[in-house]
């Protein structure tokens, strides 16, 4: 690493670039490796998967796995649960976080610091550490095997992050822009909807994608409170294949890729905001 920083004579600049490029691409290969293996396995035939030693690339590219999987697994059901639950939780988060973030970003009020501390602390809580309490509560409210249980839990645990990132976006918008709208007779809500939200769009998109992905990938809560396949999301549904007598790896990975590809694309879209967003709560 030291060599990367050393200022070297011009002649060696190309050598440094070659080292950098090789290291960079090696890193990419390492971090893509398990997903490349997923892709390769998902298009192997059943017999090829169980050959010893294993093949690097499929001898017969069995793309039909991606069609048969819909008949072999209740994949459509899992997918529907994942989409409904993640979208509902995300919309609920934005509906509640936007006004809270806006108010906190714009006003000084009594209890503001207490509220911010509550948000900062709950941002650090994870559903995993509270699973026993959540489980007991869900039973008490008769929400076992419902989508509502997941929607509420996912919304609650992502609320803090969205409030943080949105309030820093709102606070950075000059108040004069809003005041101009008020003078033109707009109410505070109208100004928020028509002036502020469009300006804060990158923040909204980041909060949306972040919450969506975190709900989409959640595992422990869904594993614990959803025992009927009709209410299980992709993470739990696919994982249940591992316990079976003969694991159908090709279907397991085809299903996993169907779950992974969309969120990777979404995440890549907010790459720019990733870190500023993640540290927004702590650094601001």
């Amino acid at each position: 690493m030291t060599t990367l920083l050393k200022k070297k004579p011009r002649k060696k600049v190309t050598g440094r670039k070659v080292t950098l490029t090789i290291s960079g691409w090696t890193i990419a290969l390492i971090f893509l490796a398990p997903y490349i293996e997923m892709i390769v396995t998902s298009v192997k035939s059943k017999s090829e998967i169980l050959s010893i030693p294993t093949t690097y690339l499929p001898q017969h590219w069995t793309w039909s796995n991606y069609i048969t999987i819909w008949k072999q697994l209740p994949l459509a059901q899992y997918l529907r649960t994942s989409i409904v639950v993640s979208l509902s939780a995300t919309i609920l988060v934005l509906l509640l976080a936007i006004p809270a973030a806006y108010y906190v970003g714009r006003n000084k009020f009594k209890g503001r610091n207490a509220f911010l501390l509550l948000v900062l602390v709950t941002q650090m809580f994870s559903p995993t550490s509270l699973i026993i309490g959540i489980f007991r509560e869900i039973i008490r409210f008769h929400l076992v095997n419902t989508w509502m249980a997941l929607i509420l839990v996912y919304a609650a645990f992502n609320m803090a992050f969205s409030i943080w990132i949105l309030s820093s976006f709102f606070a950075s918008i000059p108040v004069e822009i809003e005041e101009a709208a008020w003078i033109d007779g707009a109410t505070r809500m109208q100004a928020l909807r028509q002036i502020i939200l469009p300006i804060a769009l990158p923040g909204l998109v980041t909060a949306f994608i972040f919450t969506f992905i975190s709900a989409w990938n959640e595992f422990v809560i869904a594993l614990t409170i959803e025992s009927s396949p009709a209410h299980q999301p992709l993470t739990v549904g696919l994982e249940s294949l591992i316990g079976q007598y003969q694991v159908q790896w090709q279907y397991l990975f085809a299903g996993s890729l169907i779950a992974i590809v969309p969120v990777v694309i979404l995440f890549a879209m907010i790459e720019k905001y990733l870190v500023s967003g993640l540290t927004a709560g702590s650094v601001k």
């Binding site: 960079g24 294993t54 509906l95 509270l130 309490g133 540290t279 702590s282």
Partner: protein
């Protein structure tokens, strides 16, 4: 600001109330419920038989697996957090420099971060498979091993691989945190130090690293909490087994309640875990305040 407050003097509650209600209902209430459960007697059917004081904690401390699990949790948390940082620092340095395809490499690093940890762990489980796994094939081809290895065969090996996979999923986030830190340092500072004639390592140690420290500390505390809470990797790859030999306190708490159906004893384990996380959070608050002061 004052005009704002004069014209629209509505209380804060309508704005922040609904968000707070959801946090109270689904985050703080379960925390309270969990701590309460740890002091109650609850049978396997979930029926409560009132408070029993510290009896669940006593049962937990008599659990023969507890000491080993506690030791393992410490090794798990510390080794993953430290190794993740040690790997992320040079990786971020590489991704900060310019080279052909840098954008692609950055996107590649995002994949394990965005993808479900359950699914990533499943792929590792398959790669490490003792009969059909591709790692066996690669090592055989390279002549590094003579016959197929059961990578998840023994306790030590399994646990080592669990740690490797956990590092694999933690490095992308940490690298991006360091990368953000590097971006804020600015070229002028770096150039000024080059003019002063500092060597590469000197520059890194005395200029770059100290400037990275605040971002790094925050990243580390976030990792600390995530790694301590980590569940899917262990659950998918070994289920904490064989026996309890690869469990951490997080998976142990889960097993006690959902396999042994002793939710009250499990709640006492989870309450202890939660207490440890609260300590991490205080640490986090200190670290971020420290940043504000500097």
């Amino acid at each position: 600001m004052t005009t704002v407050r004069k014209r629209y003097r509505v209380g804060a509650l309508p704005w922040i109330g609904p968000a707070m209600a959801v946090i109270f209902l689904m985050v703080l209430y379960p925390a309270f419920e969990m701590v309460k459960t740890s002091f109650m007697s609850i049978d396997a059917t979930g029926t409560s038989h009132g408070f029993t004081g510290l009896s669940n904690y006593r049962t937990l401390f008599r659990n023969p697996n507890l000491t080993a699990v506690l030791e393992r949790t410490v090794i798990w948390t510390i080794s993953i957090v430290v190794l993740t940082v040690l790997i992320s620092l040079p990786v971020a340095q590489i991704l900060h420099a310019k080279f052909p395809g840098r954008r692609f490499v950055r996107y590649a690093l995002i994949v394990p971060w965005a993808a479900s940890v359950v699914m990533t762990s499943t792929s590792w489980l398959w790669i490490l498979n003792g009969y059909y796994g591709v790692l066996n094939r690669i090592l055989l081809s390279l002549g590094l091993i003579q016959d197929q290895k059961q990578f998840l065969g023994s306790q030590t090996q399994s646990f080592t691989w669990l740690i490797i996979v956990a590092i694999f999923v933690s490095v992308p986030f940490t690298t991006y945190v360091v990368l953000a830190g590097l971006t804020t340092i600015g070229e002028d500072i770096l150039e000024a130090s080059t003019v002063d004639g500092a060597s590469g390592w000197q520059r890194y140690k005395s200029i770059i690293f100290p400037l990275l420290r605040p971002a790094l500390l925050i990243g580390m505390v976030i990792n600390l909490i995530n790694v301590f809470n980590s569940f899917p990797i262990i659950w998918v790859m070994t289920t904490g087994g064989p026996g309890y030999s690869t469990d951490t306190t997080t998976t142990l708490a889960y097993k006690i309640s959902f396999r042994n159906a002793d939710i009250a004893q499990s709640a006492s384990m989870a309450t202890i875990n939660f207490g440890i996380i609260l300590i991490f959070i205080v640490l986090f608050l200190k670290v971020s305040r420290w940043r504000d002061d500097s």
